[in-house]
Symmetry: C3
């Protein structure tokens, strides 16, 4: 289920695996920004689309392997993964990975969308690490020693500009991850995982001014010229996974928190608010806004007894700016914009495993924002999304 691995480490010639997700979606209003498969076209409130069309082409030798992953949708054909992995002949204790791979941060980023119960990753992770991947190199350590086999440690050096760029600045970013996994506790009925991660990165300022929070919005800092200076992009994360097999079925609970500093820009007519705090793949041209953010998700899923049905419930929050109250956003002279608005999403639905390869998911997301003083966000905007998805994975 980790994207940072070949389909199997057993030596094999080319193997092609993959999955296809095709879906119908209906939004509460046309043209909304959405993290459920991307924004809707201007006048469109429903659509058919290929959400993900993945072909993974890999190969494994005794002590090296190679992975290509392609995403083919109506939006085009893109490279998702392309990495070389090295390890000792009889041990995967120490691994070196180089190329384009998933950032080793937390739990949900690296976890394959073909296996996830829920249709999408949480808004906070889509914003901070769009498309999950980056270019660089990684060292992973998982002790062979049975007593410590529960441990995984990873450190990566990456561009920081995502999966489709050759960096736009001269500082590299660092990601570190520590994970603990206990697979069969309580007579094999309880599976437990938890971990913590850090991200230390930088965003180059292209203007001589930084926008700093004063607790009530932003003030211009033009004391010195900040052109070519670097603003900190620091994240801290913690995650927990619990699965309990019980007479009523299999119940799983997953949660992940992330907080830190994200240099973004102002929301504007050219750049919709939810995208103002994203991690950029190219140099942001306008003033950087230094924000302290936080976000999390809670995922609850329950496979009903021995049926093929799984009940799904999720709640996630992303607050790009912890320091400003929603009611003050858009107030005169405090320089806040739609890029500072907090969004919460309550998702619920059901999935049905038609067979081992086919899964039908019906899922509704209720997206909520508090009232602000911005004309377009005087009230909760109507941006709920219903998704009916069919997936084939092999």
């Amino acid at each position: 289920q980790s994207n940072n691995a070949p389909s199997s480490y057993d030596p094999h010639e080319i193997a092609i695996t993959g999955y296809l997700q095709t879906q119908y979606q209906r939004a509460q209003s046309g043209g909304i920004n959405s993290f459920s498969g991307g924004d809707f076209a201007k006048n469109s409130k429903d659509r058919f689309m290929i959400r993900r069309g993945r072909l993974k082409i890999d190969r494994a030798d005794k002590y090296s392997s190679i992975v290509f992953q392609i995403d083919a949708t109506q939006n085009g054909v893109q490279l998702m993964d392309a990495f070389i992995q090295l390890h000792q002949p009889n041990s995967k204790q120490l691994m070196f990975t180089a190329g384009l791979f998933n950032r080793p941060f937390g739990y949900s980023i690296v976890y394959s969308s073909g296996y996830r119960d829920f249709p999408e990753r949480a808004r906070v992770f889509q914003t901070l690490m769009p498309r999950e991947r980056d270019l660089g190199a990684m060292i992973s350590f998982r002790p062979d020693n049975k007593a410590f086999h529960f441990l995984t440690a990873e450190v990566a050096v990456i561009n920081g500009s995502g999966h489709s760029a050759r960096d736009y600045d001269s500082k590299k970013d660092i990601v570190g991850n520590l994970g603990f996994k206990f697979d069969s506790l309580a007579n094999g009925k309880l599976h437990l995982g938890f971990g913590g991660s850090i991200y230390k990165g930088y965003v180059r300022s292209n203007t001589d001014t930084l926008m700093r929070s004063n607790g009530n919005g932003f003030i211009k800092d033009g004391n010195t010229s900040y052109t070519d200076s670097y603003a900190k992009r620091d994240y801290y994360g913690a995650n927990l996974q619990l699965q309990y097999d019980n007479p009523l079925g299999s119940t799983s609970f997953k949660a992940e928190y992330i907080g830190g500093k994200q240099p973004g820009v102002a929301g504007s007519s050219k750049l919709a608010g939810p995208l103002a705090s994203q991690s950029f793949s190219a140099q942001p041209e306008t003033n950087l806004y230094l924000r302290e953010f936080s976000g999390y998700y809670l995922w609850f899923s329950h496979r009903i007894s021995k049926t093929k049905f799984t009940a799904l419930a999720a709640y996630d929050v992303y607050d790009p700016n912890n320091e400003v109250n929603e009611s003050e956003i858009g107030a005169a002279n405090n320089n806040t914009t739609s890029g500072d608005i907090k969004f919460s999403t309550l998702g619920y639905g059901m999935s049905y495993l038609i067979n081992g390869r086919l899964k039908l998911t019906l899922y509704n997301e209720h997206v909520v924002n508090d009232k602000t003083q911005l004309p377009q966000y005087l009230d909760d905007i109507k941006d709920d999304v219903f998704t009916a998805r069919l997936q084939y994975r092999w």
Copy 2:
């Protein structure tokens, strides 16, 4: 030969099939609009090109299958097909298809370009259903009962915006098809197929004005604001295929007619006439022109005795506007444009099967338009195209 199927329904792991068409073309003049592989570059009257480079990657289980098809040419790498197909374990009587697939309209749209005798589909189909595909879901019915096995019925709900868009409006389109096929009549010498299709769709108006035909051109209808209103996009089609195996070889005749309503725009310096009545993949920004169109093709091919030669002859017509006479197009104040001009194409040539996989086709197309009052179309424009194509299919 249907694009809406895996390479085989027999359960199999990943299979890669495909074909490559590479060709040299010479046009009568440089920079012409062409439906023989796309418009020529501004000052170019001949070219080498990859017309289609198809890789079909599919997999079939007992009761489901998956198909990806990629088109790789000098123009880029694009997704053509990506669909999941479900049926009962021991019957393909009832099938459900979801994803990106060929619109089930008539005969030539769904028929693979790797098997077609003629280099291209008719102009009318290329205009109304560019690249054949759309996103949505389809139900197909073909009775297992031998007595009714000649029948195929299909209904699909689709975006209507084609193979590379996630719809631009909030109405979905419906396609229905009924086909009859009798494979071995007259002692197995005669093969007969025929059918009919409908398309019920919509195009959103982005302006407050519609251009309606008054029999002699278009008049502005701005009585009410038409912004956000939907114009009808309705097609009706009928098709016939005949193949007769005789002492002189194998003779085949195929014909297809389509007519109906197509909301287009005006031809202009920015949008060449032949593209003004195309089906759009994005919201047309300018006034919609409501046109009644008709078109057809006649395909005649004859495999010469037991040789590897096949003689080809075709005639096709597309009249985007049935209600206006060509001689009146461009007349003062009737709002007609190059988008209303009828084109007829006479094609003739020869193909040679070098071996089971290789086919060489030499084909000439004589494209004719009547005189209009438009400065660029005062006479038949010089837009014939000769094609020499080599195809490898496996």
Copy 3:
């Protein structure tokens, strides 16, 4: 090692081979133009990137074969090769190739980047034949007769506009190549190859003026209108390869020279100098500058004894304009620009074969230009590049 061949001519169903090159690079300054994997982003002096991600999908029959090659990197997914190849059932003496293939010019163009010792082709070849490929047809001749088996002759007709265009003019270009290869001289210790090539092509002028060299720069030639006229694009090349297996290891020396006429444009703020003399994939809109150029490379590599280390040293030169002295470039009224500057590159490094599939290369390039009178090139610009590359090939 030739790109113009399937992975094997032995009849086989679909085979997927390929290689992945992932690398870290550090430039002497940010935003430089570079021929070591492409220009650096404006403010970036180091980067991780996928240099090449190649998947070759081919198939061979008794007397025909087909090859697709895809390049998948952070820049997108592109078609590199797509050709059909025909030969007699039991002989590859005479071959016909059609589609998208490597221009049969000299040695380094056709030689696969997955096998080359050095990270990149020389600047002169990258400029004159960007991405190596073009669309067209080729005849190759290599005598079956053992006495003449050392000979290869090739002639191709191509668009001349490269691997991603369907030509922009109406003249095709011709490439001819003659190669001699003696594989086991001096008791099998010496391997020798040499050859010569010509390229006869044309570039269409889009303006009524040509810029002609007067030995001291360019003068305007507007005597007659040159719009729609064609300027000559003529290259002559010679190449030599020597490999000597000796007690100290295996030493190889390769050299290639190319000279001729290249119609380019002026370097400008919109088009960086090193790109002004490139071969264009679309019609150049501005005045053509007729230049006489020359360039060469010297490649020296030595596999150290029986170790897995190979020492690398290279020197290459590209002078886009033989007729002007660097010190006069940018002088008043002589119409010279950054497009006329000569660049020399001294490269040196080491590669280490980790195993049969994996290769690590550390390589530094020292790029030198002479002083000119142009403000940006008053001195040698700081455009050295260091590359650390990991390659997996299978």
